[in-house]
């Protein structure tokens, strides 16, 4: 018996990373801006996304969404009310979306042609840990935090907030009622990710949505140039 050391030096998630790279190239050449929405369960990703899809459609943008959940297609049905094409990804127990699932659900999607889209939103499974490790080929990762979750959540989940390109605070309409400390939340997000863009929104009242849409338009324009 002889023992030997074999150097591998390869990424643990190499397979996912390679698939994500392929997706990113595809998205870039199609000219579609892809966003990956990540938060805890109950933050209000679906309500926020529904409002976003509705507003973008009203302004003539071509949008679609993939929505990940462990089980059920409740969220897909909610989002479809916006009139945008929506497809559900059921992960059946897996706590995050992977590039392979995204790739598979882009195939045979009736009425959706990436080349004809301005925006594709991917709503991840509600979880603040695992989605941070899995690249989906998105251009922008959005971390969402609701006013009911506690201002220190970014400090508890630094990996996710550090990997985000933009942060959205949701349910601002009830901020006062729940004693939300806006400054502390902003300070904590920026402690983890200095200079990140932060949007304070309410899907219910629509407040803050204009800033968010302006950001999307800006990013989409950079994408095309």
């Amino acid at each position: 018996m002889t023992t030997r050391i074999v150097e591998l030096r390869q990424g643990i998630l190499k397979k996912n990373d390679e698939l994500a790279r392929g997706l990113r190239e595809r998205f870039t050449s199609s000219g579609v801006l892809v966003l990956n929405l990540v938060s805890s369960p109950g933050t209000g990703k679906t309500a926020f996304l529904e409002r976003t899809l509705r507003l973008l459609r009203e302004r003539g943008s071509r949008v679609a969404a993939l929505v990940g959940d462990l089980e059920t297609d409740n969220d897909a049905r909610r989002l479809a009310a916006s009139g945008a094409p929506v497809r559900q990804i059921n992960t059946h127990g897996i706590c995050h979306l992977e590039a392979e699932m995204v790739g598979k659900h882009l195939e045979g999607w009736d009425g959706v042609d990436l080349g004809q889209l301005d925006y594709l939103f991917i709503e991840n499974v509600g979880n603040l840990v695992c989605p941070s490790s899995y690249d989906l080929g998105e251009r922008i990762r959005v971390a969402l935090l609701s006013v009911t979750e506690g201002e220190d959540k970014p400090l508890k989940y630094p990996t996710l907030f550090n990997s985000a390109d933009a942060a959205v605070i949701t349910k601002m309409d009830i901020a006062e009622a729940v004693g939300f400390e806006r400054e502390a939340a902003v300070r904590n997000i920026r402690a983890i990710r200095p200079n990140i863009r932060i949007f304070e929104t309410s899907a219910k009242s629509g407040s803050g949505m204009e800033d968010w849409l302006a950001y999307l338009a800006e990013e989409q324009a950079t994408r095309r140039s």
């Binding site: 591998l8 643990i12 630094p158 550090n162 200095p194």
Partner: protein
Amino acid sequence: MLSEAGPALMHELSIISSVVESVIDSLEKFPGARVVEVRLKVGALAAVVEDSLQFCYGIATEDTPLAGSRLVVNVLPVRVHCTACGADSEIESLQNFRCSLCGEPASDIRQGREMEIDAIEIEEAEESVKP
């Protein structure tokens, strides 16, 4: 509690499953070899917990050529590059992304997101040592 621990453990299990799969692939060149040790390099920002990795490793390696092997996890601290003073430094806390020399906020991560299989130690079967 389950909602916190459940998905988290699930996370380590899926990561360890990828490790086992990759190691088995790399054994193709060494027929009959048995794995003694697997060495991982994991950044402090990778959101994996070593204890959970170890726990899942035992389960995921059962009935594979990795059964009974050791898992060594080398955790790499987070290092940032400071655009203000130009220095690279290790951050003092995961709750505060600042240059530890000048104190300016720093978001340019130079180390700490790694998730790599560094190397494996194997025991080769005698008959497989052929040109």
